[in-house]
Structure formats: C-alpha cells, structure tokens
C-alpha cells in the first residue's frame, strides 16, 4: 500500500474533497480551475497563465511520463513554458508513482517537492469538475498537515505583473541566449523584422514560434512602453488573471495602433487588444481550459481544434464598428479572436503556439510574419 499523507481540498463554498498527497507536503491556496487536456502537465504547470490557480486535471492519470530536464535559459526553457511552476497546486484522480519516458529526468512528485508545490491524488476529480461547472470556478485551499493558509483570490491582484519579466531583452535566434536591452535598439544587422513582444506572463513557445520564423524578438515587461523603440510588428502575449489590471498595456497598445503596423495577440493579448479597440471583457463561469475547443473562422468553412486556457473573454457585442470577430467558439459562441476590418490587427483567444495541445493553428504566426514583410 502506497504510504501517503492525507490531503484536503476545501472550496470556498465549504465543499470538502479528501485525497492523498504525492507532492510537496505543505498547504496552498488559489482559484480552483479544471483542465480537460489528456497530456501536457509539465507545460501546464509552468504556464504563467495558471499563476495563482489550483489546477485540476480531469484526465485521471498524472505523472505517467515524468518530467523532462529543466534545460535552457530561464528566459527561454527548452521543455517548459516558464521558468518555474506557476500553478499553486495540482489535483488528479490517480498518480503514477513510477513514470516511464526516455526524456524524463525526474518524477513529477520530485519536481513538485523541488518547487514546493503540493500535489493531490485520490480525489473524485469528475465530481469536483462538475461542481466547478455548475457553480463556477471558485477559491480553494489545500490542507496538508496543520497549516491553514486561508483563501487567496488571485483575481483580486495584478497577476500579469507577477508573471511578466522585469526587464526588456532581445532574442536573436533560436538557441541563442537573450541579451538585456540597454539603451536604444539598433536596427537588425541582418535586416530581419523586429517584433516587440509584450510579456503579460508569456508561454515560452510563443517566443520559439516567432524565432523559428526568422525574426528578432524584443520581449518587454507588461507595462513597458514599447513605443519607445522601432519595431515592425507588435505581439501581445498570453497571461494570467483579469485583463482589467493591464491598463498600462492597453494604453500602450492604443498608441501603437496609430502607427498602423501589424499587431497580433494571443489569449490575454486578444483581450488587451480588444480593450484597446474599445471593447469590453467579462469573466466566464468556469473558463475554457482544454485541448479540444472547436473554433470557426468567421465567414468560412474552416474549423480548428485549439488549445485554450482562459477565464475571461471578449464580449463580441461591444466590439466597435471597425472591428469584427475573427474566430468564434463552436460550442458556446464566445469570442475566439478579433480583427480590424482594414488595419493589420488581429488576435486569437486560443493558443496557436499550443504547447500543450494541438498545433493546428500555428499558421497564425505565419500570417503575422507575412504582414511584417508586406
């Protein structure tokens, strides 16, 4: 019998789930959200969009293939989406105490212990998911041992500021270490386009996807005024929490629009671009977190299976007249992207960079790059 400590999940409405601990033996608190993806726990755990959240994986088996090595620079990991685990805790039905994969360097349990993140198994995650579906995402705390951390509401603070980087840096090529941007940015010696990348809590695969398309990337903190240097295209990353906190970013984007140069956004980037355009966002009942969200490109017969992770959405009805929805969720009709009717501005609510999830929409990066070269 696997010896393990009892662990409790207590939701803000008083519901209690009893499980067993397999990760770090300490308590934690955050917003409890579920993800229905069947693969990708290393990517999800390091995804900055999960900042402040307790992740419930509905797929019942966790840890099967261990954890790949933490190779790469903190600013751009080889196998992770961020420099550290951003989730506050992870919950699954069953944990594989023995993993098996050629790339695995340690077990999930070991990684969680190393990063002081609790993990729980033995919880009826389907019952928990249905609870969240019916009552909406809610706060929860994990109690292991005697410590009660109290509830913590991540949406009450500016998570983007927490997840973003602290200084601008230049990524020159895939594999090359980034260098800090000091002073002014020189034009690229090879004549490649420069992309200003606003880090709202960026997933590293966005950087990889841009770099492999032969552009120079300047990654800047969320509130950095990127209008201070010359760029050919603006890219606004994903990020955690409530877009309302990012007023500084929205202001900067609004000013950038006047330049008429290409702008693209992903997830939080979609919401911030929408806000800059004048539209409103709202919180979804329990969000979209999965690898199987169907979206349709409006006015076409093209449909895509997408990877998603967001709790807020753009209100289609508030889009100004010169903007229109670009993609629509085929399940619930929510906004999945917007575009300007005449200017080269567009964004997606889902994750074309995937990682984790299906890669069917990576072509959006190509569309963005094509705009730069026009």
């Amino acid at each position: 019998m696997q010896a393990s400590t009892e662990a409790l999940l207590i939701l803000e409405d008083g519901t209690i789930f009893r499980g067993r601990s397999f990760g770090y033996e300490g308590s934690a608190a955050g917003e409890v959200v579920f993800n229905t993806a069947m693969t990708g726990y290393p990517e999800s755990l390091t995804d900055p969009s999960y900042e402040g959240q307790i992740l419930v994986t509905t797929f019942p088996q966790l840890g099967n293939y261990g954890v790949p090595p933490a190779d790469g620079d903190d600013a751009l990991k080889d196998f992770f989406e961020g420099s550290r685990i951003h989730c506050r805790a992870i919950i699954a039905q069953d944990y594989a105490f023995h993993h098996s994969h050629w790339l695995a360097e340690r077990s999930l349990a070991q990684w969680l212990k190393d990063e002081k993140i609790p993990g729980i198994y033995g919880i009826d995650t389907r019952a928990l998911t249905k609870h969240l579906r019916e009552h909406g995402s809610m706060l929860g705390k994990i109690i292991i041992g005697s410590e009660d951390p109290g509830f913590y509401d991540p949406n009450a603070e500016n998570l983007i500021a927490i997840a973003s980087c602290d200084k601008p840096m230049v990524f020159d090529a895939p594999g090359a270490a980034p260098v800090a941007l000091d002073g002014t940015l020189e034009p690229d010696s090879q004549g490649r386009p420069t992309v200003a990348l606003v880090d709202c809590g960026i997933k590293h695969n966005i950087i990889r996807c841009l770099l492999k398309r032969g552009v120079r990337v300047v990654r800047v903190p969320w509130d950095y005024d990127f209008n201070t240097f010359a760029w050919d295209g603006l890219f606004i990353s994903n990020g955690p929490g409530n877009p309302d906190f990012a007023t500084a970013t929205v202001e900067n984007i609004r000013r950038a629009m006047t330049a008429g140069k290409p702008i693209c956004g992903i997830c939080m980037g979609n919401q911030l671009l929408a806000k800059a355009a004048g539209a409103k966002t709202y919180k979804l009942k329990y969000g979209h977190r999965s690898h199987n969200q169907p979206v349709r490109r409006l006015g076409t017969t093209q449909c895509f299976v997408t990877s998603q992770n967001h709790g807020f959405a753009v209100d289609n009805d508030t889009l100004p007249a010169d903007w229109e929805p670009l993609f629509i969720n085929m399940n619930d009709g929510t906004n999945e992207g917007i575009r300007h009717k005449s200017m080269p501005f567009f964004s997606a609510q889902f994750h074309p960079e995937a990682s984790s999830g299906p890669r069917d929409t990576e072509f959006l990066f190509d569309e963005f790059i094509a705009l730069l070269k026009k």
Binding site: A37, Q93, T129, K130, N292, Q302, V305, R359
Partner: protein, 1076 residues
C-alpha cells in the same frame, strides 16, 4: 448546412459472416451508417448475408439482400435497384475489396453510382503498399521500407538485402492475413508462398520489433477540416498485431510532444491522401526518441474505429456517413451533449483497456503464439479511472475463468523466460506469474519490450495482492487496503481468495458475500460515471455509464421507481456466442422500451450494437459478473432482469441472482437449473417418458469401460475439467478412449467425465420456440444438413425443414410441448433433437434464446425475441396464425470458418464448435439457398477439377451421386486410393493421386494444390481416430493455406455440388428479403 445535393438511394455493403479480423464491429458501423442515411430520408439498400446482425433487421434498411458481398452479386443488385450512391467504408475489408473491384470493372460508372465519401483512388493509394509508400514520401512522411515481390525467389533477395528479421505481408488482406515475421530463409519461403495464395503481391520489410505501436482515428470532411477522435496505444510493442494486443485509450506513455507530433502527422497524411470520412493511422514509435514509421492507413471504418467510438462516445461511423453525403463537421452536433459541435476531439476522464479474446483451445494442433497475424475471435473493453481498475475488469470480462490479474488458478508455464519472449494467448498471465516468481519490472521489460509504465501498474496489483495475502481474517485488513484493492479493480472474489486462502474453496459464494457485506458496511461501494466526450465540461444528455471505485459521487440519479427493465448482454464474442445474441439483446431492449419501460443494458463488448448508447435508456458498459450486476441492480432497482437473450453468461447467473432476491423475468431460476443440471434434466425426461442418448457421469476407468460395453462405440466424452485441447471428443475404440482420457482429462472423483452414447447417421433437429407459462406460442423446427456429430454451431441449417418425416415433426412438437409445460417456460428456449427413422432423442435444452433465433425469426418474419420479451413482461401474446409457418421458400444458415488464420489447426469439424460466424440466405428452393449461403461463406464454384478423398464406405456411397454430377458437369476428378477405386468401379472416371505419406508416387495430391490444378477439395476423415485425422490433415491444411475451397462433410459437399451443378449462377434470383 452545406449540403448541395443529396443522393436519393444509397447502397451499403456489409461485411458478411463474422470471421477473425472482421467481426461485429462492422454490424455496428453499418447500423450507424444506415441510421445516418435514414435521418436524411435516403432510401437504403443493404447487401449483407449475415442474417444474425442488427443491421439486417426490419426497419434498418429499406431493402435488405441476404446475398454474398461479391462483385457478381453486388453488380446484380445494382442492376436491379439502381442506387445513385454507394458506401464502401462500412463493411470492412470485404466491402472495400468488393467495391474496388466493381469500380475497376466500371460497374459504378456504368450504372451511374457515385462512390460516396473517400474516393476509390484514395482507397487504392492506401491499400497498395507501393502506392502508399510513394504517396507518403511525397509529403516526407516515413513509412516502413518495404519492397513488393511477386515470387518467393524475389522475396529471398530482398530479405537478404534488408537483413533478418523481416516481416512479410500480403497486400489487400484483412487483419494481417498471411503475414508474419521471418528469421531465416526457410521461414521466409514458407510464409511468402502462403501469402501469395491470398494476394498477387507480397511485401517484405525490415522489422521494428520493440517499438511502440500507436494509432490515431482521424476524421476529415470535404472542407478539409480534420480532427483526431482518439488515439490508442498498444500494451504490446510492435510485432503483435493490434487485434492481438491489449490496447489502451488514450495513450498513456506519450508526452504532449509525442502525442501531438503524431497527431499532426496523422492530419497531414489524411489531407494528402484525401480521405472524406474516417480513417486510422497506425504508427511504430521509437521508445527512445521521436522517430516513427507509419505502419498503415485504413481508409475505412475498422475494428479500431469501433473501439474508438465506444471508448470516447464519439459515433465515428454515423459521422463518417454524414460526411460522405457532403456535410461539414461544423454542420453536425456532438450526439452525447447534443448542444456542442461534432467538430471537436473527445476528452476522456477515464482509462479504456481493450483485451482480445482467443479461443485457441478449440482447435487441434493450432499454434498458440501471437504475432503479426490476428487469431483472436473477439474483444472486451473495460473502463476505469485507474489503469489497474480497467485492466482487472477487462481480464474478468474475457470470460476464460480468470478473476483479474491475480488470484487466478495457477497456470503451468514450464519456461517463464521463453514465454515472456515468445508470447502466446496467455501473455498477460505469464507476466503475473513472472512477477510472482520474483522477476523485476526491468527484467520483464527486457524480455517483452512492454513499456515499464504498464509493468509498474501491473506490479501495483501484485503488491496489493501480496499485502492482502498477509491477512487471514477480514476484520484485520486495514480499511484503506480494502479501498485501495477495490480502486485497483479487485473483485470481491479476489479479495476473498487472498484472505481465506485454502478454505475459500469450501464455500466460495459464502466468502465472497462476506467480503461484499464487509466492504459495504465500510461504505466501499462503486459509483456510476458517465462517458460524456468532454470530461464533464458540458452536461451529457445520454446515459452511457460505467462503474468505478475511483470516485465518491454518482453522475446519475436513481428513482427507485421499478420502471426499468435490465437486459444482460452476451459479453465478448467467442466461438459459440456472437452477434446473434447481440441481435437478441437489442430486440429485447427495443421491445421493453416500446412497452413503456426504461430499457437498461449491461454489456462490455465494443463490437456490438447493444452497447450503442442510443439503443437503450441506460447503458452500463461494465462487467456481467454477479458482483457487478448486483452493484447495478441495487442502484437501479428495476422491475426485473432479462437474462435469457444474452447466451450462456447471463443464464449462468440465474441461480445466484434469484437467491439474492432479484426478479428474473420469464422462466424461473429453478426451471433454468432443472434444464442446466444434467442429472435433474435427465430425471425429468425419464419421468416424461422422453428418450435421450444414454449417458453416465463416471469417475473411474473401469466404470467407463463397463458403460461403453453397454452402449457400444463410438461414445462422446466430456471431461468436467480440461487439461488441454478441446473439451469434448468422440472416441471410436478403446485405444482412443484411453488416450483421450489420459491426455485430456484427469479422471477422478473430483473431476468426473460424462460419457454418452453417440448415435451415428442421425439427423439433428433444432426446436426454437417461445412459450408462455408452459404453453408454446411460436416455434421453428429446423434441420441440420450434416448428420449429428457436427456441432450445431458449425452445422448447415435448413429452415423450414425439407426432408423431415411428418411423423418426426409431430413427435418433436409433442415432446417440446411436454418439456415447455414441465419447466413452465415463459420466454425463449431451444431444444436439440436427434432423429433416426422416427425415433427422436433430446440432446440438449436451453431455456434461453439460441444461436438460431435471428435466423428463424428473419426467415419466418416473426420476431421471436419480441414475442419472448412481451411474454417476460407479462403482456398477452397471441399465437401467430398457422399460415405464418407455411413458407414457400427456404432459408439456409451456413457457417463461416477462420481456419486460414489459425496456423496449424486441422480444419475438420467435430463435436466442438470451431466456426466464427455464419450467414443466412433465402432461396426459392434448397439448391438456390445453399449456393448463396456457401458462396457467402467464401466457397467458390469450381471450374477445373475437384480433389476427392471421401473417407468411410458409407461416406463414399453418400458422395457417389455428387461425383457423378461433377463428372457430368465436365470437371476433372482427382481422387486418392480407395476413393478413386470406388469411383472407377461405379463408372466415374477419376485420376488417382497419392497421399503425402507415399511421397515417391506421382502425382502427389499436395502438388495438385500447390500447382492450383484443383479448385475444390472434398476431404473427409474415415472416422474420428487420431491417425485418420492426421492422415488427411496435410491436404486439408494445404487447401486452407492455399485458399482453395474445402469441404469436409459428405452431406454438405453433396448439397453444394448438387446445387451448383443444377443451378447456374445466372439463374439465381436476386430478391430482397421483403420479396420472399
């Protein structure tokens, strides 16, 4: 809605009889496609001779033709029906091959029939290995390098260049037929020659043994939208056919990068080759890098797609049919949630394990190793929320006396290491044994190449089992350990055996109940979960359910209103129980629902229609063990349970369910027991004055010999405990009897044998009937074409009987009525009789639906299951009018054998069943029905010559007329010694050929076969002695391996020869079912 034009009338090709590699999954896919077409108000025409299927039932298609799915018959149906569209992807390889041939012959073009869905060119691109490799090379997708050869000599050159081991495959073959691994030149030549008999082209390729095998089910619409509905991972590495491997869904050992790398490739492939509908892509995947090879692409619905549909709840066949009509995925709804789109990829919050079911024990001489060619006859699917739970459930479901991964009876494996290296059908239990003997995960991994993840999970089960075994008292076992055991899928039986050990055998049921009550008192009970395609993200509108101990909350509410009727299904398809019981189960569900009950199904076979969640109000995809059925009944609180439509598995539960107070609908458990218990039944027949073959249950040799003295040889011997080989045997002399008893049966007080008188040259007659409170309401008497001695499941059955004395019929009715009354039967039943002259003897009586229920129901056009269900529901049932039993046409049910898959097995028929499927065809007379039915099970009409060896003098005489007809028809007759002499003496020219035992004399019979000089082999053993059986075996086996039609029974051979010599093919009427 994007549909531009819709066809008015669509032809659907079925897959014919169930065979190894092509089984019930195609009834399911075809039935779904028909449903999709009906929804569009399209007239449907179905060609499928498999009369036991659900798709060939009333109301499924507008026109149903019980005809062979061959180009000749299908063309004639097209000529008559003039459909404007045809679907080729729903009837397995049979339909696909037939369609490709018709297309090549220009038949579709000639009659203006549009091939809907995937274009024929795409089908050919994926079926022809060379084209396939080339097409994938165009998009830089790696395939297994293979070279096509057309002779054994070329194969040798290629193999030596690639280096052994190599794998050989036949092009255009289903389920890996004629394929295998070769380690040297000799093995290669043998295999290539066999493969070339099935296919003009054979492929030789380098083997990638030890790589993972992963497959994706991919869907594409004509707008180029693609989804992968499910991926699956084989437990066994490459080298074992996916049909022979335990399979898990979704993949368990792939990282996100692995999963999506292969997923993206699959989509790239399906786009490039241009599938419209569904296909499956199989990969070999390096366990130590991201290197891969595409093994194959199936441009049609497959066994895997049926499994994927059940595993995810995504109705692949239904959707594929809609896409073939021209819809986009975005036009369709997810049929589980009914509010979200069908364009999505299911998210599973459970683990699915598929386990194959083999029946190799039924065959003499068969090679029990599993490999690249398929031998399993069925499969089960188990659902759990841990891998351990799912696999233990599954191992119980396969129904071969196993209780899970542990706590089984000891199996004897002389060399565990060798058995791990060279897997047989006992593979998984060898692993259990290895763990018990102290092998480590790494050691087992090195020998099997099974991913360590699976092995660690299996070891968890072993560890729990070992921990349980440290206790001798239930009360001492920590509650947590009981809970963990249940979470890992341990049954009450396993827990009881591990704790009570030796004393367990004294009161098995009592100890199991003790565990049950103990854990229930602790609150350790299973919960019911829904399969909803979206992992609870959206509410599901269907009740597709399973039970798990990994959970605390039920997904469904129980009303306890006793308004439901639970139907117990038939489990895994196996020899002796297959699609016919699915038909029965489905019809019972439909009737129960029509009569206002909530219909509830329990079954776990992914190849069935009864496990389609829209066929009933609640589907429990779960075990049919006493424990699980009671778990469900305790929650469901039904009005009652029907256990007489699912074959023997539910029937066997009768007594225990009754003891637990379950309301068994229809015939009582006590009556079922009276019919099942040999002694009780015999006593009852005696008291009713009904004759039966003399039999005795005996425990020692002297008694056996004394009894045989009394009844005379031959005798039928049935051991109660089987050591090896077949369970039953006919012994013709003392020598044989002694050998069989020594070899196969360990006779003792504990293991008695039943010895019965074996009546030779007797007719076998079946009575299928429905009774109400002991009164017969409807009946069907059918006769076997073969004499008794051929298992009723293998026999060719004629209905209505054409050659029975009126007096015999009268007596059968009388005896049946007496038995029905004595057992107070309410529901379906079947009695088997022997008739010789006008004497009849009862061989067997089953108080449940029999294998022939769909056949007689469809021939008579009276649905016996509907009647029986209404009886069981207590509704008044009128007897059908007498005239309804008066038919002016004939139905023939013929058996399908899969010997070609079962290397080494002697394709001779005996008292143990060996067929894997059946067809039923109608004709205006016996000849017509016989010819259709036998062509439908793969026989072909000979045009050149027939090789005859006709056994005993009696059989020789029986075959004389047929030989005469063959000669008159201008066919050359080759015959072995005695047969040749007999024919010549009777004025029939025949050319003498020699047995393999006299290799110096020419011509050799085997050479004729290899040179393809004969196109029919009639070969029957003189008697059932071992020597006689082995004598003709080489001929029979060669006929099978070289794909030359073979008949081994004189009466069937005569019937076939009479039919095709009397009735030319073009005189056969093309009539649909409703035209009879």
């Amino acid at each position: 809605m994007t549909l531009e034009k819709k066809p008015q009338k669509v032809l659907l090709l079925g897959s014919g009889a169930l065979k190894i590699g092509e089984a019930g999954e195609f009834d399911y896919s075809g039935a779904q496609a028909l449903k999709a077409l009906r929804q569009e108000n399209i007239t449907t025409v179905l060609v499928n001779p498999n009369i036991a299927t659900v798709q060939t039932s009333e109301g499924m298609a507008d026109k149903i033709y019980f005809l062979p799915v061959t180009p000749y018959f299908v063309e004639r149906v097209i000529e008559k029906e003039r459909p404007d569209g045809v679907l080729l992807a729903f009837g397995g390889q049979t339909a696909l091959n037939c369609g490709v041939e018709l297309w090549k012959k220009g038949v579709f073009e000639k009659y203006g029939v549009e091939v809907l869905g995937t274009p024929v060119q795409t089908i050919m691109d994926t079926e022809d290995r060379e084209l396939f490799v080339e097409r994938l090379r165009e998009i830089d997708v790696k395939t297994i390098k293979s070279e096509a050869v057309e002779t054994a000599a070329d194969a040798l050159i290629v193999a030596n260049r690639l280096g052994y081991p190599v794998i050989v495959r036949a092009a255009y073959a289903l389920g890996g037929l004629g394929s295998g691994f070769c380690d040297n030149d000799d093995e290669l030549v043998a295999l290539v020659e066999k493969a070339l008999s099935f296919s003009p082209q054979v492929l030789v390729e380098k083997s990638l043994k030890g790589w993972k095998e992963v497959e994706y089910e991919v869907v594409r619409d004509r707008f180029d939208n693609c989804i992968t509905v499910c991926n699956m991972e084989n437990f066994d590495p490459l080298g074992i056919h996916t049909g022979e491997s335990i399979v898990v869904a979704p993949s368990q050992t792939l990282s996100n990068d692995d999963y999506h790398y292969l997923r993206s490739l699959a989509i790239k492939i399906i786009r490039h080759v241009g599938i419209v509908g569904e296909c499956n892509v199989q990969y070999a995947y390096d366990p130590a890098s991201m290197d891969y090879r595409v093994i194959e692409v199936n441009a049609r619905l497959s066994r895997s797609s049926a499994l994927a549909s059940k595993a995810t709840g995504y109705p692949l066949a239904f959707v594929a049919a809609k896409l073939a009509l021209g819809y986009g995925l975005f036009d369709l709804n997810n049929s589980v949630t009914q509010c979200t789109s069908a364009f999505f990829e299911p998210a599973l919050d459970y683990v699915v394990v598929k386990i194959p079911r083999w029946d190799l024990g039924k065959f003499h001489g068969v090679d029990r190793h599993i490999g690249s060619s398929m031998k399993s006859v069925g499969e089960v699917m188990a659902i759990g929320r841990t891998f351990e739970e799912a696999i233990q459930k599954g191992l119980r479901m396969i129904g071969q006396g196993m209780h899970g991964f542990t706590e089984n009876r000891e199996i004897s494996i002389p060399d565990v290491e060798a058995a791990l290296k060279e897997p047989t059908d006992k593979r998984i239990f060898v692993i259990a044994k290895a763990f018990k003997e102290g092998y480590t995960v790494d050691q087992i991994h090195n020998l099997t190449k099974i991913d360590r993840w699976f092995l660690y999970k299996l070891r968890n089960i072993i560890d729990t089992s070992a921990e349980l075994e440290t206790f001798n008292d239930l009360a001492q076992v920590p509650d947590m350990l009981v809970r963990i055991a249940k979470e890992q899928g341990f049954s009450d039986f396993q827990i009881a055996r591990s704790i009570f050990k030796d004393s367990f055998a004294d009161d098995t049921d009592g100890y199991i109940l003790k565990v049950r009550n103990h854990r229930k008192a602790l609150g350790i009970v299973p919960v019911v979960k829904q399969i909803d395609t979206l992992a609870a993200e959206y509410p599901a509108a269907t009740n597709y359910l399973y039970l798990t101990y990994n959970g605390t909350e039920n997904d469904v509410d129980y009303r306890g209103d006793k308004k439901s009727v639970v139907v117990l299904g038939s489990g895994a398809y196996r020899i002796g129980s297959s699609v016919e019981f699915d038909w029965c189960s489905v019809n019972a569900l439909l009737t129960a629902r029509r009569e206002g009950w909530r219909s509830v199904m329990i079954n776990y076979n992914p190849e069935t229609v009864s496990t389609d969640y829209d066929i009933c109000d609640r589907l429990y995809f779960d075990e049919l063990t006493y424990e699980r059925v009671m778990d469900i009944l305790e929650m469901e609180c039904p009005h009652g349970v029907i256990l007489s439509v699912g074959g023997q598995i539910p029937n066997n539960l009768a007594t225990r369910l009754d003891a637990a107070g379950v309301n068994i609908l229809g015939t009582t458990a006590a009556s079922i027991d009276r019919a099942e218990d040999r002694n009780k039944f015999s006593a009852m027949l005696d008291s009713l004055g009904i004759d039966q073959p003399r039999w005795r249950e005996l425990t020692d040799f002297a008694d056996i010999e004394e009894f045989v003295e009394e009844v005379g040889y031959p005798v039928l011997v049935r051991p109660s405990y089987v050591l090896s080989g077949a369970a039953m045997n006919v012994c013709s002399n003392p020598d044989e009897l002694r050998r069989f008893l020594k070899l196969a049966a360990n006779v003792s007080k504990k293991h008695p044998v039943v010895v019965s008188e074996f009546v030779q040259y007797a007719k076998e007659i079946e009575m299928d009937a429905v009774a109400d409170h002991g009164e017969i309401k409807a009946y069907a008497i059918s006769e076997h074409i073969e004499f008794a001695g051929v298992h009723s499941g293998d026999a060719t059955i004629q209905f209505p009987p054409q050659k029975l004395y009126v007096e015999t019929m009268r007596r059968i009715k009388k005896v049946s009525a007496a038995i029905a009354k004595a057992l107070d039967i309410s529901g379906p039943f079947n009695i088997q009789f022997l008739a010789k002259n006008n004497d009849i003897k009862v061989i067997e009586c089953n108080l449940r639906a029999s294998r022939s229920f769909p056949f007689v129901s469809k021939v008579l056009k009276i649905n016996f299951i509907d009647l029986a269900t209404r009886v069981m529901l207590g509704l008044p049932v009128e007897k059908p009018a007498k005239s309804a039993f008066d038919l002016d046409y004939v139905g023939i049910k013929a058996s399908q054998f899969s010997f070609s898959r079962l290397g080494g097995a002697d394709p001779v028929l005996g008292v143990d069943m060996s067929s894997t499927g059946e067809v039923g065809c109608l004709g205006d007379d016996t000849d017509e029905a016989v010819i259709k039915a036998l062509l439908a099970v793969g026989l072909r009409i000979p045009h050149k010559a027939v090789l005859m060896s006709t056994g005993s003098p009696k059989q020789k005489a029986d075959m004389l007329e047929a030989a005469h007809l063959l000669h008159k028809a201008g066919l050359t007759i080759y015959a072995t010694g005695g047969t040749c002499q007999y024919l010549n003496e009777n004025g029939i020219p025949a050319i003498r050929v020699y047995w393999p035992s006299t290799p110096d004399q020419m011509p050799q019979a085997l050479d004729l076969l290899h040179e393809r000089k004969v196109d029919l082999v009639v070969n029957m053993p003189k008697n059932f002695t071992g020597t006689e059986l082995s004598n003709g075996r080489k001929i029979r086996r060669a006929a099978i391996d070289l794909n030359i039609p073979l008949l081994t029974n004189s009466r069937l051979a005569s019937a076939f020869i009479r039919a095709f010599t009397n009735l030319p093919l073009d005189k056969i009427e093309i009539k649909s079912w409703d035209e009879y």
